[in-house]
Amino acid sequence: MRLSEVVFLTTLVLATGAISACGSAPASLNQLNYGLTLVPTNIDPQVGASSELGIPLRSVYDTLVFRDAHGQFVPGLASRWEVSADGLTYTFFLRQDVRFQDGTPFNAEAVRINLERVLDPAIQSQKAAFMLGPLQSVEVIDPYTVRLHMKQPFAPLLDSLSQVYLGMASPAALAKWGNADYQFHQVGTGPFRFVEYLAGDHLTLERNPDYAWGPSTYQHRTAQVQQIVFRFYEDPASRVPALLSGEADVMGEVPPQDAAALSKKPGYSLLPTSIPGQPLQFFLNVTAPPTDDLQVRQALLEATDRGAIANSLFGGSSPPAQGPLDLSTWGAFPTIPLSLYHPDGSAQLLDQAGWRLPPGGGLRNKNGVPLELEIVAPPWGFSPQAAEALQAQWQSVGIAVHVTQVASITELSAAQAGGKYNLIADNFSDTDPDILRSFYSSGALDNLSKVQDAQLDRLLEQAASTLSASAREALYAQAEKRIADLALVIPVRDYVNLNMTRSPVKDLHFDYAGWFPILIDVSK
């Protein structure tokens, strides 16, 4: 027994020594290790809908236009474009010097093939097809001129054409691999080449040395790192250990407390990035009692200290939300300001609505029925924590809250269809305020507040079909005011993505959409 003890301990010591002594090979300076979070189901940007796939693929594809830091449209694969006065015809004049990464030329025919593929029902596009709106047909005028015909004016079209979901893929590669397999062999015109994707494990990109047609938003002509390997870190608890051990050089969506602690260590930088679109928010169901009463909904808004919730959950990293859109979005207005917080006013409104506090305290009731609310929260975006914060705040004004956490987007949709909730959390990022139409118009699939308001419908439809930017802004101001007046939503915080890098990574910047890094400029 003694001898075996000695042997066992010696082996243990030697093994530990061996592992820690093997540090001789220097880390590759030309490989960047990027940490992603959720694994997308389908990484073909014309098919899949997740933002995660865009993080690597934004740099594999170019788009017809790009948006600069101020939201202005700048030339991309199209060197200029013309829009007809009635908004029904878009003509793009394409660059003539662009080649796909497989050597085939980029031209108007490629644009037609790509857009028709997106609209083909066979590929079941989850996002790109809807971004094209009422697109009717694509016409090739000459080898480098392509015309898009719309059934009706659609203001978000240029914004859609600036996103990775409508990036231009090589027709030769599309034909060679077929719809289901193409996602593993993607070919674009961008500064990085797609090397391989092992589902759930890693995705590898390699520098495209022939790249010479980047937009003005790219500071460099070609990529600064040779190779980027993306790995997935689904569990938030695993993200900081990966940064600390050097397994990842860049990490997205670092939990706020971990980010605050790690950013104090030398060699680690925090890059908070605002994401335009909808904030973390709770929709109020206008068809389910007691939230079917406008006074009750207004009272709930006034009873909520949103600043306190944003601060306690996110430290100082996220501003509290003040409207149905993040204030960093073009067309967003603070129609639900923090100054609405007014506990006394809230109590008054509830009394007026008939929900009174019994003499000894406790729950408010009306004709013997207690004031109870049901909140449905999905697991992402800190929704459950925010729901619990609302529960705590509203309890102090005599409202009982029951929080149901659903496990996935399928369950969230099921809960939505069932309609038995007073509040439900969901949000979507987007650079165009037309996202509001998908959530607040009467017939929309995601009409979570179940509102049926003709005035709101009209404003949102008009804003989608008006091409003048200033006219659109005015319409959105009115629409957002209407949403606030009807008290359809309680916005909590504007989305800020906490990215962290470790030295020697430099010059990591994100594009206008917020989620997607400009990988051509990153160096290590």
């Binding site: 075996s4 003890e5 989850q126 759930g200 250990p241 050097g246 397994e247």
Partner: protein, 317 residues
């Protein structure tokens, strides 16, 4: 075990696999998980597009017809395509299996080794022929084994992840990272499963050491040491290995947690994601594979146990 018995076991396993898969088939479709809603929820589609998609996925057909289509498909070797990625299900599963199989196998072997070694050491708490240091170690191990059985894998996994940070920081070659990527989650699972096996070993050894055959061996002059220990251990080996077959269910479930925590691809993580998205064909195929794997693990464990302990072999008169 005779060939006939093995064949009967295999036949029983097939029935189990069929029953489990059918149960999951109906449970998925009768639940409120709607893959069409998930497919379209981020695409902001119209209700008309939702019905068109449902029809194209055959989800609007009567339940029994879907079931018969499914069974016919299996007889032709077609387990369907993932509703989300469009890939045929079998290659997806094989790609996940290449990561989960080594993890489960390593965890299983480590669990048995840990269980036998630690259980055997822990059983020496009151032995008179060992040093007091060993007796103290044995008492500590006894407590640790109890703790190991009770600790949730999510928590112990997180501790191991953090403890491994300096080791990972020093591992710069691809091979080292691959080895660590396998060993860390395997160790997490092995500690939890091995603790149960260790307690069974400990109890078995304590019983074996007072058996007449063991006392006789000592009286014959067999020196204290591994040889004597091995003699006592042989009686406990069979139940421990049989138990490890049952523990296989824990290992299969544990891969879900460890694969997510240690960012390792595999069937466990794939199954969780497929369930959350309502990807019916993928869920059915992984569950069928899990049932088959469990049946196989158990059969293997029982075969090894019978080989080790003749008392467990079926006698044919």
């Amino acid at each position: 075990m005779t060939i006939a018995r093995v064949l009967r076991r295999l036949g029983g396993s097939l029935v189990t696999i069929w029953l489990v898969t059918s149960l999951v088939f109906f449970a998925l479709r009768l639940s409120h998980l709607d893959p069409v809603a998930a497919l379209l929820s981020q695409g902001l589609a119209t209700p008309a597009q939702a019905s068109a998609l449902r029809a194209s996925l055959h989800l609007d057909r009567p339940l029994l017809q879907q079931y018969s289509d499914f069974l016919i498909g299996i007889l032709h070797g077609d387990m369907g395509r993932s509703l989300f990625s469009g890939q045929p299900v079998v290659p997806i599963i094989l790609s996940g299996l290449q990561f989960t199989a080594p993890l489960a196998a390593t965890a299983w072997v480590l669990a048995i080794l840990l269980g036998l070694i630690l259980g055997s050491l822990a059983s020496r708490a009151r032995a008179s022929e060992v040093s007091s240091l060993m007796r103290l170690t044995a008492r500590v191990l006894n407590a640790l084994l109890a703790l190991g059985t009770a600790t949730p894998v999510t928590w112990s996994g997180l501790l191991i992840l953090w403890a491994a940070v300096p080791v990972l920081a020093n591992a710069t070659s691809g091979l080292e990272r691959d080895v660590l990527g396998l060993m860390l989650p395997a160790l997490t699972l092995a500690i939890a499963s091995g603790s149960s096996l260790g307690r069974v070993t400990q109890a078995g050894l304590l019983a074996a050491r007072i058996e007449p055959f063991h006392l006789a061996a000592r009286a014959r002059g067999l020196p204290s040491g591994w040889r004597l220990e091995w003699q006592a251990l042989r009686t406990t080996l069979a139940p421990v290995i049989s138990l490890s077959g049952v523990e296989a269910a824990f290992l299969l479930g544990g891969t879900m947690v460890t694969e997510t925590l240690f960012s390792r691809p595999g069937l466990g993580r794939m199954l969780v994601e497929a369930i959350l998205r309502g990807d019916y064909p993928l869920v059915q195929a992984i569950v069928a594979l899990a049932a088959a794997g469990y049946a196989l693990f158990n059969l293997l464990a029982d075969l090894i146990a019978a080989w080790l302990d003749p008392r467990l072999r079926e006698e044919t008169q």
